[in-house]
C-alpha cells in the first residue's frame, strides 16, 4: 500500500500548495465570486426577468454563473504555473504526472465550491427560495467535481496554445454541456420538490461524468504535458 499512500500524499501536497497560494494572495476566489454575481445581475437585466420567471430560472442562473466563474479559476490555476516557469518545477518532480492533475483538480474544485457556498444564500435571498438544502448541495458537489476535472484537463491543453487562456471557454463549454444539463435539471427538480426517483437518471449522469472526466485526466494528463 505504500506507493498508493505516496501518490495520495503527492496529490495532497499539490492541492495544499494551491490553497496556500490562494490564501496568501487571495486573488482567485474573490474575483470568481464577484464575477459570478455580475453574471447574475447581467442576466437579470438582459432577460428582463419577471418575478414568476425568476423562480424557475434560479437553478439555471446558478449553474451558468458557477460555470463562468469557475473558468476564471481554472485559467488562473494553470497560468500561475506558467508565469514563473513553476510548471517546469512541477514537471521535474519525480512524481506521477496524473497526481498533478488530481491535485490541481481538487484545488479548483475547492475554490469553485467555496464560490458556490457563498452564492447559495445570496440566491436564496434574491430569488425568494430556500436554496440551502442538502440534496442541492450534493448535486452542486457532484456537478462542480465533474466540471472542474474536465476543466483542469482542458486548461492544461489550452495553455499550450498561442492563444493561451482565451481558448479555454471555447473548448470547455461545449464539452461540459452534459454536466450542465444534468446539473441544471437535477437542481431544478430538487428546488421544486421532486422525489429522488424522478431525478435519479440526472444524478447518475453526473456521477458518470465525474468518473469519465477523472479517468480522462488520469490517462491523458501525462500526454498533454510532455514536451
Amino acid at each position: 500500500m505504500k506507493p498508493l499512500i505516496r501518490y495520495l500524499n503527492t496529490i495532497w501536497q499539490i492541492t495544499r500548495k494551491d490553497i496556500q497560494v490562494e490564501w496568501r494572495g487571495r486573488q482567485g476566489v474573490p474575483v470568481m465570486l464577484v464575477f459570478a454575481l455580475l453574471v447574475v445581475f447581467l442576466f437579470n437585466f438582459a432577460l428582463q426577468l419577471s418575478p414568476e420567471l425568476q423562480a424557475g430560472l434560479a437553478s439555471g442562473l446558478l449553474w451558468v454563473s458557477l460555470a463562468f466563474a469557475s473558468t476564471l479559476g481554472l485559467n488562473r490555476s494553470v497560468s500561475l504555473e506558467r508565469e514563473n516557469n513553476a510548471m517546469d518545477g512541477l514537471l521535474l518532480a519525480p512524481v506521477d504526472r496524473s497526481a498533478i492533475f488530481f491535485g490541481k483538480s481538487i484545488s479548483n474544485f475547492a475554490f469553485t465550491c467555496l464560490v458556490a457556498i457563498i452564492l447559495l444564500p445570496v440566491f436564496s435571498l434574491f430569488y425568494q427560495q430556500n436554496m440551502l438544502s442538502l440534496p442541492l448541495i450534493g448535486i452542486i458537489l457532484l456537478g462542480v467535481a465533474a466540471y472542474t476535472s474536465l476543466g483542469t484537463l482542458l486548461a492544461a491543453l489550452s495553455i499550450q496554445t498561442r492563444t493561451r487562456d482565451v481558448l479555454l471557454p471555447v473548448l470547455l463549454y461545449p464539452l461540459a454541456l452534459p454536466i450542465l444539463i444534468a446539473a441544471v435539471e437535477s437542481s431544478r427538480g430538487v428546488l421544486s420538490g421532486q422525489a429522488f426517483a424522478d431525478l435519479q437518471s440526472w444524478v447518475y449522469l453526473l456521477v458518470a461524468c465525474v468518473v469519465l472526466f477523472n479517468a480522462a485526466g488520469l490517462m491523458f494528463f501525462e500526454t498533454i504535458l510532455e514536451e
Binding site: L150, L153, L154, L157, S158, Q160, T161, R162, T163, L167, V170, L171, P174, L175, L177, P178, I181, A182, E185, S201, W202, L205, A208, C209, L212, A216, F220, T223, I224, E226
Partner: protein, 225 residues
C-alpha cells in the same frame, strides 16, 4: 509525389455513380409519405449525412488513439481528415433538417434538444481546429489534437444520452420498443434508406481518403522545399 491509389479512384467513380443513383431511387422509387408529402424525402439524405458525420467523428477518436499509441503522423492526418469531413456532413444534416422543418414544424429552427445537441457537436469539432491553429509544431498539433478528439468522442454520447431524458419533438424512426427494435417505414422506403446510408458511408471514406492524401502531399511538399 505518390501516385493516386487505384482503390481511391474506384471509390471516386463509385461515389459519382451511386449518389445520383440513390437520388433517382429516392425521387422516383420510394412512395410519397401520406402525411408529410414529398418533403419527407429529405429524410434519406438527412439521416445518412448525420450518420456519416457521426461515423467520421468516432473514426477521428479511434485514429487519435492510434496516434497516441504509435506516434505516427499518418494517424493524425486520418484523425484530422475525419473531423474535417465529419464537420461538413454534420452541417449538411443540420441544413437538410432545417429544409424539412420549415414546412413540417413551420419554423427553420426550434430549440429542441436533438437540434441543439447536434449544433453543439459541430461547435465541439470547430473548436478542434481553433485548438490546432494555436499550436506551433506538427507534433503538438497531433498530440493535443488526439487527446481532444478522444475526449470529445467520449462526451458526445453523454450529450445524446442527456437529451434522451428530455422530451423531444424530433421524429424517432428507429424505435427500441418491441422485440429488438423496429423501423416505422414501408419496405421500399427501407431499401432506399439503407442504400443512402451505404452510399454516404462510401462517400465519407472517399472524402476522408482524399483529405488524408492532401495532408500527406502537403507534408512531402514542405520537406522537398
Amino acid at each position: 509525389m505518390s501516385k493516386k491509389p487505384t482503390l481511391l479512384l474506384l471509390f471516386d467513380v463509385l461515389s459519382l455513380i451511386l449518389i445520383p443513383a440513390a437520388l433517382i431511387l429516392i425521387l422516383f422509387f420510394t412512395p410519397v409519405e401520406r402525411v408529410m408529402g414529398p418533403v419527407q424525402k429529405v429524410f434519406y439524405f438527412h439521416v445518412s449525412a448525420a450518420w456519416a458525420g457521426m461515423l467520421g467523428f468516432i473514426f477521428a477518436g479511434v485514429a487519435g488513439a492510434g496516434y497516441l499509441i504509435t506516434r505516427r503522423q499518418t494517424w493524425d492526418w486520418l484523425s484530422l481528415s475525419a473531423i474535417e469531413v465529419g464537420l461538413v456532413f454534420g452541417l449538411i444534416a443540420i441544413l437538410s433538417g432545417m429544409i424539412w422543418a420549415q414546412p413540417i414544424w413551420n419554423t427553420w429552427w426550434v430549440w429542441d434538444p436533438r437540434l441543439t445537441t447536434t449544433a453543439i457537436m459541430e461547435l465541439i469539432y470547430l473548436a478542434y481546429f481553433i485548438l490546432r491553429s494555436g499550436l506551433d509544431t506538427p507534433e503538438a498539433r497531433a498530440r493535443l489534437g488526439a487527446v481532444y478528439a478522444i475526449v470529445s468522442v467520449g462526451t458526445v454520447p453523454l450529450t445524446f444520452f442527456s437529451i434522451r431524458l428530455f422530451r423531444t419533438i424530433h421524429p424517432v424512426v428507429i424505435t427500441t420498443g418491441g422485440e429488438g427494435g423496429a423501423f416505422n417505414m414501408s419496405p421500399r422506403m427501407l431499401l432506399a434508406f439503407f442504400i443512402s446510408l451505404a452510399v454516404f458511408t462510401l462517400l465519407l471514406a472517399d472524402l476522408v481518403w482524399h483529405r488524408y492524401r492532401l495532408a500527406e502531399l502537403q507534408t512531402q511538399n514542405k520537406q522537398e522545399a
